[in-house]
Symmetry: C2
Subunit: 349 residues, 2 copies
């Protein structure tokens, strides 16, 4: 099969690899229908962190081709959504819905599964899924191909935006500022609108992303940052600060922006992968009673709530994909996102 | 009148000062019935921070002697509880119940009130209270003198313990670890019990404090710290970590302990005044989805809920006072707490 491998910074290749097969009885093998590139894939691509060559990609949907002996709830032919992390469904973290912190979890495109076998990347033709019954969600078929992009966002980006909103306590009556206009930030706007927020202010400097933000439910756009951005938020909110901020970038600057746009007693829901250790300023948090919540999105736990709204077309998060390429052009997908020529790129094997 | 003044580290003197009087129409003057020394008063006492000589103390209850022209809901003779911060009751923070972040707030023993007048300290015979109608809570009289210690804890220490518990989402079904066995930590135990927690593990190495913790509702005591303490918590909880941790110290070590005793998706409610900037480790929080909430307790907002339980004797937080001294012996009160000869000292003018 063909699979995307990152060899070094800015060195993405699609190569031949052995077809994944069932190893453990709880495994399922999935033929990928669609995968995509994540903002967090750009960290190794940009050389922010050292890279050892490995199969990359952690978001995919596809069709089951083979199931292990212990698998009874998933069958060949099923269309499945794969959360970007696998989970066993039984540990303390899983029982509390934090499937992304599963004691026996792993991540697609990571090193090993809990049984010591290598994990495959999602930007590939075929993927083996360990602990498949606890991890995968079957979409009742037949699946309309037009829904594939939105179903794919459930594997990470929309579920992650939802996690930011849930973590910050977004709901009716709340004013929300979204920091970050990448695909996750835009999905956070959509999630906040879905959860009934009163005002949703998207901080974005890019016209194309501002347009998607508005389509997703942003009531206001703030194109400035720092103190100027805070002043604009205040002006929009009648001189006050927001109840909630959703941080979807992961830099010190973006977290600082999020912390400073919320009112005393407000909450920051953050899902941006911390890049370079933006440690949180305790004295500032203490003085303003700001709650900080979030982390790696427990996608699997959210799918029963989010999937029906995608299937009913109540939400259309797939609009974050503004470029679709064949898997063979994965390198161009990375370049397009790196150069901000695309918000998010969908790959079709 | 007599008032306690800190001149330098370990230099506490009770001195003559002019009697406070009404300055602004919203002021009230209170004759102090009881005041006390706070763990946070020990920071300047120990010279952790540089000290300029100033009137000290921020916890008191007392009897109103004089009211300003604009004051209609408080009258001379009323017994009042003073939250350690004053608030205007109208700003965005106050409207959201974060009275401790009031835009026009001040703290007893601090520099200035919102009108530019000097603030008095609470370890004194008489205190002027600005914005008194929004700040003070009148206790329906007559007040039983035996209740004075518990009423006094409402001005800070019990309300602060309650804030830690509320911030961490303590409630029925929850397992809770309390880090810190000072008066606030002990009150956090009591608050967690009052809120219905299933298990309350107090981390304490001092027998006298362990005893109070048990009386306040701790189901278990862990006398070790660090990794050993975490192992003990796990052993008590059937191999698992706690849902909530209440941090009531404010050092890097105590916050680290609190962060590491909670399960993925758990919450740390913190009220320890951050000493020396224990910045929060983002990557750790991110990976485990740990919520961090808390800060300066909005005492005023909690009093309508907590006062009735003190008046009905459903709770007896006044038991944290294990030493009572005349105001004139304030220096000895500080020394006793500094040397851990007392958990918390009540001062009677």
């Amino acid at each position: 099969m063909r699979a995307t491998v990152i060899h070094a910074a800015r060195d993405i290749r699609v190569e031949d690899r052995d077809d994944p097969t069932i190893i453990e009885p709880g495994d399922v093998v999935v033929r990928v229908v669609a995968a995509c590139v994540c903002g967090s894939d750009l960290w190794p691509y940009r050389g922010v962190r050292p890279v050892e060559p490995h199969a990359i990609g952690h978001e995919f949907v596809g069709t089951v081709t083979e199931v292990g002996d212990a698998v009874t709830t998933i069958a060949p032919g099923d269309f499945v959504i794969a959360p970007f992390t696998t989970n066993d469904g039984t540990c303390q973290a899983c029982r509390h819905g934090i499937t992304s912190s599963c004691e026996h979890g792993s991540v697609f495109g990571g090193k090993q599964d809990p049984y010591g076998h290598p994990m495959g990347g999602a930007q590939a033709e075929i993927v083996r899924v360990p602990d498949a019954e606890a991890t995968l969600v079957v979409v009742p078929g037949p699946v309309d191909d037009a829904l594939v992009p939105s179903l794919l966002t459930l594997s990470d980006v929309f579920s992650t935006g939802h996690h930011a909103a849930v973590s910050a306590g977004v709901g009716p009556g709340k004013t929300v500022v979204v920091v970050g206009d990448g695909a996750v930030g835009l999905c956070a706007v959509l999630a906040a609108a879905r959860l009934g927020a009163d005002r949703i202010i998207a901080m974005s400097r890019h016209e194309d992303r501002q347009r998607i933000a508005r389509e997703f439910g942003a009531t206001d756009i703030v194109a400035t940052r720092g103190d100027e951005g805070i002043d604009e938020v205040r002006a929009l909110l009648g001189g006050e600060l927001a109840d909630c901020a959703l941080e979807a970038v992961g830099t010190k600057e973006s977290m600082d922006q999020a912390l400073r746009v919320v009112r005393p007693g407000g909450a920051v829901g953050y899902v941006g992968v911390p890049a370079g250790g933006p440690e949180l300023p305790m004295s500032f948090l203490f003085g303003k009673n700001i709650t900080v919540a979030g982390g790696v999105a427990p996608v699997r736990a959210y799918l029963p709530e989010l999937l029906p709204d995608v299937l009913s077309r109540a939400v259309d998060p797939g609009r974050v994909f503004d470029l679709e390429l064949p898997l063979e052009e994965a390198a161009e997908a990375y370049a397009a996102m790196d150069e901000r020529r695309a918000v998010k790129v969908l790959l079709r094997p």
